[in-house]
Symmetry: C2
Subunit: 136 residues, 2 copies
């Protein structure tokens, strides 16, 4: 198991890219960003050794990130860990009574994933993912 | 620059060690814990590939972690990044108007460090450290 990324909810992506590029020492032009319309979020990814920081800006007022920002302000939105046995982990956590946010492992774009409710993870929304490549 | 650890404020260390050992797949007996009386905090460290998760329980009601828990509840308290030039980073951030929590780099137990105020880091208390060993 290793940390895949830290998801950070931010008000304005351009501002936060400036802030984190200065802190982490990555040139802003080396930071890739993308839109995920299904989740109504715009993401900038800062790659560090072995993991990434994902800055997430809401694309609309009904984005889940808008709700988070209104309630908590900017900050860590979720942690994501990479596993090599996503199905086994899901089953083990479900059997241990961990509160999960889906009925099964879900298919993302190039990876499978599920979320653990913050109530079962010391207040932190926690994602687990397994890239599809690792199945080959 | 790489992520050193994620500091998580928790109500009860024993409970949270159980929770995270189940999530991350580390046996509870493999998790080291220690007290840091100067900061009034008890810490359990979960080592992952290249970084660690630090669960932090307040040792008293006047611990900084008690204040955090009362205000925000359990969750990510700070992020810490490891740098190889802590003095240079401090100077660069100070010159760029980043709000820092000390007048200079501070000496910890085996490492030097400083903190950036959440206002200058998208709402996240951010620590930078350089282990003393790297100076040799």
């Amino acid at each position: 198991m290793q940390l895949d990324h830290i998801g950070i909810a931010v008000n304005r992506l351009t501002d936060s890219v400036q802030v984190f590029s200065a802190l982490i020492g990555i040139a802003p032009e080396d930071i890739r960003s993308r839109e995920v319309p299904a989740e109504k979020v715009r993401i900038a990814e800062l790659e560090l050794e072995g993991m990434a920081i994902e800055l997430m800006e809401p694309m609309s007022e009904d984005s889940p990130i808008s709700g988070f920002l209104a309630k908590r302000g900017q900050g860590v939105h979720h942690l994501c860990f990479r596993t090599e046995d996503i199905e086994g982990l899901f089953a083990r956590l479900r059997d241990n009574g961990v509160r999960l946010l889906s009925d099964g492992v879900r298919q993302g774009s190039g990876y499978r994933y599920f979320f653990v409710h913050p109530e079962s993870a010391a207040g932190i929304l926690t994602e687990f993912k397994q890239p599809n490549e690792e199945l080959i």
